[in-house]
Symmetry: C2
Subunit: 212 residues, 2 copies
DNA sequence: ATCTTTTTGTTTAATAATTAACGAATTAAT
DNA sequence: ATTAATTCGTTAATTATTAAACAAAAAGAT
């Protein structure tokens, strides 16, 4: 048996994730089929792009009827989700870390929030939102023992670098860096960075410059 | 006198914002000059791209010496910052809103955090981190009176749509939407959306698929 | 002084991403 | 039945973004 498993473009992966969330909402509302142009409209995209993304992941719709919502959710799951799940940890349980934690609970069963890390004695040694919180010094053991693959860094900027180093030497394979400090990681670690200040400055720039 | 003021590519604007943050750190460390390849390295970019971005904003370095850090910070400021500043509001002072608020204080003088909005009576009617917090029902008056141009939406997803509508009808010109719900805005409002779950799913996908 | 090295600034080429174009299929209407 | 209208799937064209290439300038070495 032959399994096609090419690498999808990063942009397509992002959009599939976004589509899925919308599709889950559609399903809740009892919608059985959805057209490419409907999905496009909901995401400020073109219908062609939606169809192309769907094509790239190897899924098919029905001419004149659109895509079966339930099946498409499963198809996206086949792409984005790891069969046996992937374990996730958050380092830095301040407001941002807590926001993600809350955001997260119960949403993505294949991404298992497995451990939290902080330095604050009031947070460590207990569960927060049902997830055990450890001291950052325990990163090596816990990451290895619990087979944590993905780390989210939400520590204060001055600790970003050493946090990344700890996660990396503990054997993490992906990092989402939400601090303002760009990180360096070895080739075999996938790094995604996002900075809200940059987004905000972009909004400031374009909202100012684009208006006539 | 002739002022060149073309629209920069979105990607360049993002990078300029990122460069500036790094440059500010360099300045603090007493660094007077920086080479394009140094800046590139710090941001996982190529030196060519850095030079190109700098060129696009009309700034120049010194051959063999690099770019004068202080001047470049100012040059980026001329592009990204509005001379008289732009007023910003956050709607939804939960963990995410609070994280942004903290993140923000004292960092960008040209983006003035002017008002916060929430529905919780414990938060409204007082200052949080030195910024007055109002009930969301007051959005129309406050946005207009205080000339707020940019709104950050960090409310629970089910309120995202109506929050956006309120901000828009109050005359906002840019929105940063950090909820999971994609929004629709009229043409004259600039919209930027970011979803952490999508970032995380991207990390999950690529960290899994790229490893050999 | 001349040569070598380094680094900027800019043009040209390559790559990636998006959009357009259009055939094939399906449904509904006449 | 035939026709008209949609909508998918895919290839081709376009546009945007990134990288390569290289001349010019400056500094340092010989």
């Amino acid at each position: 048996m032959f399994m096609k498993m090419e690498l999808l473009p990063a942009k397509t992966v992002e959009r599939l994730s976004e589509y899925r969330r919308t599709l889950i909402n559609c399903l809740k509302e009892g919608k059985e089929f959805i057209y490419s142009h409907e999905l496009a409209r909901l995401h400020h995209k073109t219908a062609v792009q939606v169809r192309r993304d769907i094509m790239l992941m190897g899924f098919s719709g029905i001419q004149r009827k659109g895509y079966r919502v339930k099946e498409m959710i499963d198809a996206i799951g086949k792409i984005l989700d790891c069969k046996n799940g992937q374990n996730v940890a958050i380092v830095g349980i301040g407001h941002l870390g807590t926001a993600i934690l809350q955001y997260f609970t119960g949403k993505r069963p294949k991404l298992k929030m497995t451990a939290l890390f902080d330095v604050d004695k009031n947070k460590t040694g207990r569960e927060i939102n049902g997830i055990p919180c450890y001291h950052v010094d325990e990163i090596p053991e816990i990451v290895e023992d619990k087979n944590i693959e993905i780390g989210i860094i939400t520590v204060p900027p001055e600790y970003a670098k050493e946090t990344a180093e700890r996660l990396i030497s503990a054997g993490i394979s992906g990092i989402l860096n939400l601090t303002t400090i760009p990180l360096n990681v070895p080739e075999d670690v996938y790094l995604e960075e996002y900075d809200m200040i940059t987004s905000l400055e972009k909004v400031a720039y374009f909202s100012r410059v684009l208006k006539k």
